[in-house]
């Protein structure tokens, strides 16, 4: 199993996936890299002046040298299968040292491949500004981009741009730059565009439109064509010419290119790169590597691209605005993310409760709404006021803020969301700025956070173990949670062996041989040809949110807006639960400095004995013969009893007519405007019914895709009777987009299907299975692979230790004996 060390200033999902994570300020990363480089050289036995020179640079404050040494040793011990990656925002000296380390680690050719990227000889924005000031620019064409919004604040681009006689802006939205331009051209969306692209590995790819431009938008190449040749040309022709001119061939080859989706044989621009120690040495030594020397009066401000809005281009996209930040779980807003320590010093931490029964949330909440206490950050005399959100795991004096919010000219969705961090972004600190100051000011901004509580409270919800422990106890998941105490139908087999939840036993119960485990509850018979199930691998899930948006897009899930998210009425059918683990031993009011983070995608579990079904008075949610827990929207009267009785809380209720009413005016009821505009209608998936108010909804396992595949298979089968849909034909929307392929859906009655094989894994477990819900969605436990020699090594993940400490004797009690 691989091992990932991360040293970062923000708590990214990479850090969450790391086996060892070092929280360190961005401005200390150069010096930390020097420490690493020295240790790697030492480990390699290349005792040299370089090592001494690197050591002479000093050490990063508050960094355990042991951490660096052991990590470097581990890297070198795995030379040839290890690599070092430097963050793209780090200075060249860091990249030089990373390249040096990779050279020592033998990475080039094994774990690192260098590709040839044509050198970019374009001038910078600063050169352009200088030319404009010098009155050398008469006409400026801005192709995409939004410099008025996101150019460095000390460039004063808005004023610079006004000095140009004529400014033409091509953009998808009428934005800040359009407002300051003489002419705005609608840009075509990439789904409306013809184009070509080169992938990282050099493969040439076509971009083909899915639809004609809805607003008669033009692509960049079409605009350029118009400028250069003075004649409009079809995007197709432009791409055809460009591709055939560069790569040869004619109409036939081009059509094959479109059909295949890539230009055959265009791969392979790997270039041999030799490491130049002298150049690297110069770069490092002239890099001015010093510690950031941060303190509460000298903070580091770190700008990140927003995980949802990127640089602000998706600011007016409701799906993305409402998509919770992977770690902070904030929607519709950014915030100044601060460490617990800084929060404590600023006095923005929530007051300690008199009595608390759960771990304290550092972020104050009032009636379930997060109270983002306002702070002011000052950089180079510019001040920005915004809410603070405490994020455990940040370096003490780093403030992280995401870009892309606080737009002044944007659509109705983006209006009023977040603060514009670009205003603090100077040319000398595009990613990181050391020397910011902070002050607490009166007032709060309520933050629409979708997850109020951060701790699992020692519950066996996400089950994880270290790889060594797993090797010793391959069935550790069966010895966790209430199931460990439960009789055979829920817990261990009679012989104490491994029990897999929905497979095997299912066949017996389908055959009517017995209720499972002699349970008093009759196991429902499932007579369908397929038995659907899902397996979610927590080990590969990175918490990236792709499934959330894919599901929203596939299933016509409405957005509800900031105000309703604040009330807790978001509609996502699959949510990503994010838990911090503090480890045992902390007081309930202590906030962990460097917690471990675990993610868990949580869609409907399609319980075989679904608690929601038995309580619905009108039979609106029932089971089908293929094991799906289905919702009959037409039958639902909206008692919401099903949602109450769902232990996973995955059911979503239409409190208002989200689809038929103006989202900002739902409280006006029948007096408000009604109906959906034509463009919004085009967003909806015609295969999925729209839900009206008063109706419950939830994940269907993309039943529309299942039905379509079944029908297609039946047609194909004809008289042969082979109506079983082949494994892998149906992919749920969440599965389809999961970059880690953590979600696998399929037929669990087929012993050879991928989902069955995954469910047969000894890491497979059902969440809250002790309730006899028999979820068809089960999880594969997460494994971590920490290095036992590291100073921050724990015998098991912190969440596991929390579980152990909360549940006393449950599970393995440390020795050789079985728990129960």
């Amino acid at each position: 199993m691989n091992r990932l060390y991360a040293a970062e200033s923000y708590y990214s999902i990479t850090g969450a996936a790391a086996d060892h994570r070092l929280r360190v300020a961005s401005s200390d990363i150069p010096i930390l890299t020097a420490m690493f480089a020295a240790e790697v050289l030492a480990a390699a036995g290349i005792a040299s002046r370089d090592e001494e020179a690197l050591r002479a640079l000093g050490t990063a404050p508050a960094v355990d040298e042991q951490w660096v040494r052991v990590c470097a040793r581990d890297l070198y011990d795995h030379a040839g299968e290890a690599l070092v990656v430097a963050g793209p925002h780090q200075p060249p000296s860091v990249h030089a040292m990373a390249m040096a380390m990779n050279a020592v680690l033998g990475a080039p050719g094994s774990t690192v491949t260098y590709i040839d990227i044509p050198e970019n000889d374009a001038a910078t924005l600063f050169d352009l500004a200088a030319d404009i000031e010098a009155d050398r620019v008469k006409t400026l064409v801005v192709l995409g981009g939004n410099p008025v919004y996101n150019a460095p604040t000390d460039l004063h681009w808005a004023e610079v741009q006004e000095k140009v006689d004529e400014v033409v802006h091509l953009g998808q939205y009428f934005d800040e730059t359009s407002e300051k331009s003489d002419c705005h051209i609608n840009a075509a969306h990439y789904l409306e565009s013809w184009g070509d692209a080169v992938a990282y590995d050099g493969t040439v790819l076509p971009i083909q439109p899915m639809i004609l431009p809805l607003f008669r938008g033009l692509t960049e190449s079409e605009v350029l064509e118009l400028i250069i040749n003075g004649q409009p040309r079809e995007g197709y022709d432009i791409v055809f010419d460009a591709v055939t001119r560069t790569l040869g061939g004619g109409r036939k080859e081009f059509e094959k290119f479109l059909h295949d989706g890539f230009w055959a044989g265009s791969t392979g621009s790997n270039v041999p790169v030799s490491f130049n120690p002298n150049a690297a040495r110069d770069m490092v030594m002239s890099g001015g590597i010093v510690s950031g020397n941060l303190s509460s009066s000298r903070l580091e401000l770190r700008f990140i691209q927003d995980p949802s809005l990127d640089d602000g281009r998706f600011n007016n996209n409701g799906w993305l605005q409402e998509c919770p930040d992977p770690v902070s779980k904030l929607t519709w807003d950014n915030a100044f993310l601060i460490s617990p320590r800084l929060s404590h010093e600023l006095g923005t931490t929530a007051a300690d409760p008199l009595v608390t029964v759960v771990r304290k949330n550092p972020n104050a909440h009032k009636r379930g709404r997060e109270q983002g206490r306002l702070i002011e950050i000052t950089v180079n005399g510019k001040t920005l006021r915004g809410p603070a959100h405490v994020l455990p795991g940040l370096p003490d004096y780093t403030v992280v803020v995401s870009l892309g919010y606080g737009r002044s000219v944007t659509g109705p969705i983006g209006q009023g969301s977040g603060v514009d961090a670009y205003r603090l972004r100077f040319a000398d600190g595009l990613s990181v700025h050391s020397g910011a100051t902070v002050a607490r000011v009166d007032g709060v901004r309520e933050l629409a956070n979708t997850q109020e509580h951060w701790s699992m409270e020692g519950r066996a919800i996400i089950r994880e173990a270290n790889i060594d422990y797993y090797r010793k106890r391959p069935d550790f998941v069966d010895h966790m949670g209430m199931e460990a105490h439960s009789p055979p139908p829920l817990g261990l087999d009679e012989d104490g062996g491994n029990r897999r939840d929905t497979v095997g036993l299912l066949e017996r119960s389908i055959a009517g041989e017995a209720n499972r485990g002699n349970s008093a509850y009759v196991t429902p018979a499932f007579s369908g040809d397929h038995q659907w199930g899902m397996s979610i691998d927590l080990n590969t899930c990175t918490g990236c949110n792709a499934c959330v948006i894919a599901c929203q897009s596939e299933n016509n899930i409405p957005i509800v807006g900031r105000e309703q998210v604040l009330r807790g009425r978001e509609m996502h059918w699959i949510r990503l639960d994010r838990y911090y683990s503090a480890g045992p031993g902390l007081d309930k009011t202590d906030i962990p400095k460097n917690p471990q983070v675990s993610f868990q995608p949580m869609p409907c579990q399609h319980c075989e004995t679904a608690p929601c079904e038995s309580v619905c008075p009108v039979n609106a949610t029932v089971h089908d013969e293929e094991g799906l827990n289905v919702m009959a929207y037409n039958r639902c009267v909206g008692t919401r009893y099903c949602a109450q009785n769902c232990p996973y809380k995955v059911r979503r209720f239409n409190f208002f007519d989200w689809n038929d009413r103006d989202r900002d005016r739902v409280y006006e009821g029948p007096l408000g405007p009604r109906g959906m505009d034509e463009i919004s209608k085009m967003v909806q998936n015609p295969e999925v019914s729209m839900r009206m108010r008063g109706v419950m909804e939830k994940c269907t396992y993309c039943v529309q895709r299942i039905q379509a595949a079944k029908i297609e298979q039946k047609v194909k089968a004809g008289d042969s009777g082979a109506i079983k849909v082949p494994d892998g034909t149906i992919k749920t929307a969440c599965q389809q987009v999961c970059p880690a392929e953590a979600i696998v859906f399929g037929d669990i009655s087929d012993p050879n299907s991928r989902v069955t094989q995954l469910k047969n894994s000894n890491r497979d477990y059902g969440v809250l299975a002790y309730l006899n819900t028999r979820p068809r969605t089960t999880y594969l436990a997460k494994l971590r692979n920490p290095n036992p020699l590291m100073p921050d090594y724990y015998d098991n993940p912190l969440s596991y230790m929390e579980y152990k400490s909360a549940s006393g004797a449950s599970g393995y009690s440390g020795g050789e004996e079985k728990g129960h």
Binding site: H365, S455, G568, R635, Y641, N645, K649, F653, F655
Partner: protein
């Protein structure tokens, strides 16, 4: 005096052993149920007079106030139905909030009436006669208030009729496994039987009012309601049998309704709901709150209409003692819940109860516990029981506490259940608050109409329990 003499007389005439003379047992005289030796005609005049007098000014004022208050419910519900359930404070995970709390609260109040009429009738508790009519009226009106909430809390009110097993072309039946469906049957049965019981018991008195009526309209109206009652032996014989049967029918309903209401929670699997203690605990709580409400209504009524000879201190005393007993049962249930959670060793259950008492809703738990368990302990003291104003305040606190009990059960369990990622905090909106307080107006409006137009004390039954109705009364007096 007459009664106590009668008792001592009976003691002697029974030929008591000499030992009784030596130990001098404390006398436990049976207190008279009607004071001041009131005659039958006085009772008739007193009760019917309330219906027959000119409508007093206070009644008009009270009626206008309560009807206006009821308007809040009407407005709140109109807004709710036209706009969506979102106008309430509900969300995920707390999909049930004040509406269900209010439903259980009102249904609970609706328990005392039938208990007084039916169970106390079967147990031959004669003191029930002066309060049963008003208590039954209270029951029916409380059930009417309760009925509003489950109907209107659903997302699509216009399809509420789908909860009834009406045969239809699609052959879709309601889900008979759902406790909500059991609720539909339990509450509608209870409402029907309660109305019948109330009405049947009222027929002789309606006939009395009819017989005294002077205007044609009153004659016709009360005549219609009296169903041709003539007071014949056959009438009385049938009436007594019908009343007894209805009492027998109602008795299990008193227990079943709140048992089934408690199933809404007990049958679910949410920690804090999923407990077998709920049925008896809910029934005890319902009787507790019902008696609290009877006291709240009866004490002012007695003062306004000068009914002290009919609703005596003895009646108040009895009700206080029942309140004390049921309040203590409720307190026992609260404690037992913790024991069961600890003994069950289920961490989710243990957490649910610790969270209930010390979590974010600890304030509600504190109100509940002090109002329901601590405050009624005052009723141990005769001094307190003899102070109607103190009793009245305690009775109101009892119902405040019982509302909070339902709030604690419904909300705290939902707000923090299995997965901490979904935890939340519920708070109501103004629409919730106005809709609920409006139901007090609705309830008061109905009760005022009842007081104004129907005999609020069961005249015929009270006459039967007056001292002089006892066949031995005059005999005792002569011999005394």
């Amino acid at each position: 005096m007459a009664i106590s003499e009668q008792f001592s007389l009976e003691g002697k005439s029974g030929g008591s052993p000499e030992v009784l003379d030596r130990v001098k047992p404390a006398r436990m005289p049976r207190l008279p149920l009607v004071l001041n030796n009131r005659s039958f005609s006085w009772i008739t005049d007193k009760v019917c007079g309330i219906v027959e007098e000119k409508t007093p000014l206070w009644w008009w004022i009270a009626f206008c106030c309560s009807a206006s208050l009821a308007g809040f419910t009407a407005i709140g519900l109109t807004y709710l139905v036209s706009t969506g359930v979102g106008v309430w404070g509900l969300s995920n995970p707390t999909n049930w909030g004040w509406a269900i709390v209010n439903f259980v609260f009102w249904i609970g109040i609706g328990h005392a009436g039938t208990l007084i009429s039916a169970i106390l009738c079967l147990l031959k508790q004669k003191w029930r006669t002066t309060i049963n009519r008003a208590a039954e009226a209270m029951t029916i009106f409380a059930v009417a208030c309760a009925g509003i909430f489950p109907v209107f809390h659903i997302g699509r009110v216009w399809f509420a009729w789908w909860l009834f097993p009406i045969p239809n072309a699609n052959a879709i039946w309601p889900n008979f496994r759902s406790p909500l469906l059991w609720d539909v049957f339990a509450v509608s049965t209870y409402a029907t039987v309660s109305v019948l019981f109330w009405y049947v018991g009222m027929i002789p008195d309606l006939a009395t009012v009819r017989d005294r009526a002077k205007t044609l309209f009153r004659k016709a109206a009360y005549g219609l309601m009296a169903m041709g009652w003539r007071g014949s032996n056959r009438n009385w014989s049938n009436y007594e049998m019908a009343y007894l049967l209805l009492a027998g029918l109602s008795t299990p309903l008193v227990l079943s309704v709140h048992t089934i209401v408690s199933f809404d929670f007990a049958v679910s699997l949410i920690p804090g709901w999923h407990t077998t203690i709920f049925p008896p605990y809910f029934v005890a709580g319902a009787i507790f709150s019902g008696f609290g409400m009877v006291l709240t209504l009866i004490i002012p009524l007695r003062a306004i209409y000068g009914l002290h000879d009919l609703i005596t201190q003895y009646h108040i005393d009895c009700m206080c003692k029942i309140t004390l007993a049921t309040g203590t049962i409720v307190g026992y249930a609260y404690s037992m819940e913790f024991f069961i959670a600890a003994y069950g060793a289920n961490p989710f259950e243990i957490f649910a109860f610790i969270n209930r008492a010390f979590g974010p809703y600890a304030w509600a738990y504190f109100i509940m516990f002090s109002c329901n368990v601590l405050v009624p302990q005052l009723f141990w003291f005769k001094y307190i029981r003899e102070r109607p104003h103190v009793v009245w305040i305690v009775s109101i606190l009892v119902n405040v506490g019982m509302w909070f009990e339902r709030f604690v059960i419904v909300v705290t369990s939902l707000a923090r259940d299995f997965l901490p990622s979904s935890w939340g905090y519920y708070s109501p909106t103004l629409v919730d608050i106005f809709t609920f307080f409006g139901t007090f107006g609705f309830f008061a409006t109905l009760f005022l109409l009842f007081v104004r137009f129907l005999p609020l004390i069961a005249v015929a039954e009270v006459k039967a329990v007056t001292p002089q109705a006892d066949p031995h009364y005059y005999q005792g007096k002569q011999h005394g």
